[in-house]
């Protein structure tokens, strides 16, 4: 990786719902770093979209990779700001993700009875960021998620 980030915050927390608060605190620290490091930091709505995606990705690790606490392990989150984009890299050692990254959102049901109360996670992330990638590293048994959102054009210096 030749490119150095302009800002970076890394945090590792136990992969349980009780520790999501620590991740959110790290996310807030990261936005503070972004304010200091970028000439044109993204606005509030842009950040909230990214934060929403991060919260969802973390919840997925807790819920699925660590089976809601049945499996123990850590969630490592690396938040990186570059000139043209913000990236998040999540790593966990839980069970392999075997779903479909392109899984669509639950259908808006005509009848309230049929409206699902879950299953919105991946489509939510895809709606909020530009790229979502997953890979499984078999030797180490690691799940690696990458979220990427391109910064608005004004943030990129000319030339």
């Amino acid at each position: 990786m030749a490119e150095n980030p302009l800002a970076r915050v890394t945090v590792e927390v136990p992969g349980t719902a009780e520790h999501l608060g620590q991740l959110h605190a790290a996310i807030e620290r990261f936005w503070g770093e972004v304010d200091r490091a970028l000439a044109h930091p993204p606005g509030e709505e842009w950040r909230l979209l990214f934060t929403t995606a991060l919260g969802e990705a973390a919840a997925n690790v807790v819920r699925h990779a660590y089976r809601g606490g049945e499996v123990a392990g850590a969630l490592r989150a690396e938040l990186l700001a570059f000139q043209d984009r913000i990236e998040a890299r999540f790593t966990d050692h839980g069970v392999e993700f075997e779903g479909d990254l392109s899984m669509p959102a639950p259908r808006a049901a005509a009848l309230l009875d049929d409206l699902p109360e879950s299953g919105y996670g991946l489509s939510l992330i895809r709606a909020a960021v530009d790229e979502l990638r997953y890979e499984r590293s078999s030797p180490s048994g690691e799940n690696r998620w990458q979220l990427l959102k391109r910064l608005p054009a004004a943030a990129t210096p000319p030339g």
Partner: protein, 111 residues
């Protein structure tokens, strides 16, 4: 997540939430909303003004509460959704199912 309930006339309950409405707190919120319906509070107004963050589990709890309220012959409305809450409602198109009311007064109108 703190939950405080203010019971008002006509079977209305204003449920004020404070903190993160997420994977951890969603089951408690859903259970509390169901309890209020079971206790005869048919019109639930969920005040999201102090909710710092909502994830899809949190949305699921609100949907669950809405279903319970409707089964009981009532309704659930959300009020004072923050910018983040409005974003997640819009991204999931659940804002069409639960219209976010800007104020408690507006949510209470017609209850």
């Amino acid at each position: 997540m703190d939950i405080s309930v203010e019971e008002r006339e006509g079977g209305v309950a204003v449920v004020a939430l404070s903190g993160r409405l997420d994977l951890l707190s969603a089951p408690h919120v859903k259970a509390r909303l169901s309890e209020e319906v079971a206790a005869g509070r048919k019109k639930l107004i969920v005040d999201l003004g102090a909710v710092s963050f909502i994830d899809s589990s949190g949305l699921g709890a609100l949907i669950g509460g809405l279903k319970a309220a409707r089964v009981g012959g009532g309704d659930l409305r959300i009020a004072r959704a923050t910018e983040q809450a409005q974003i997640i409602l819009r991204l999931t198109t659940l804002d069409r199912v639960m219209e976010p009311y800007a104020s408690l007064d507006e949510a209470l109108t017609g209850c």
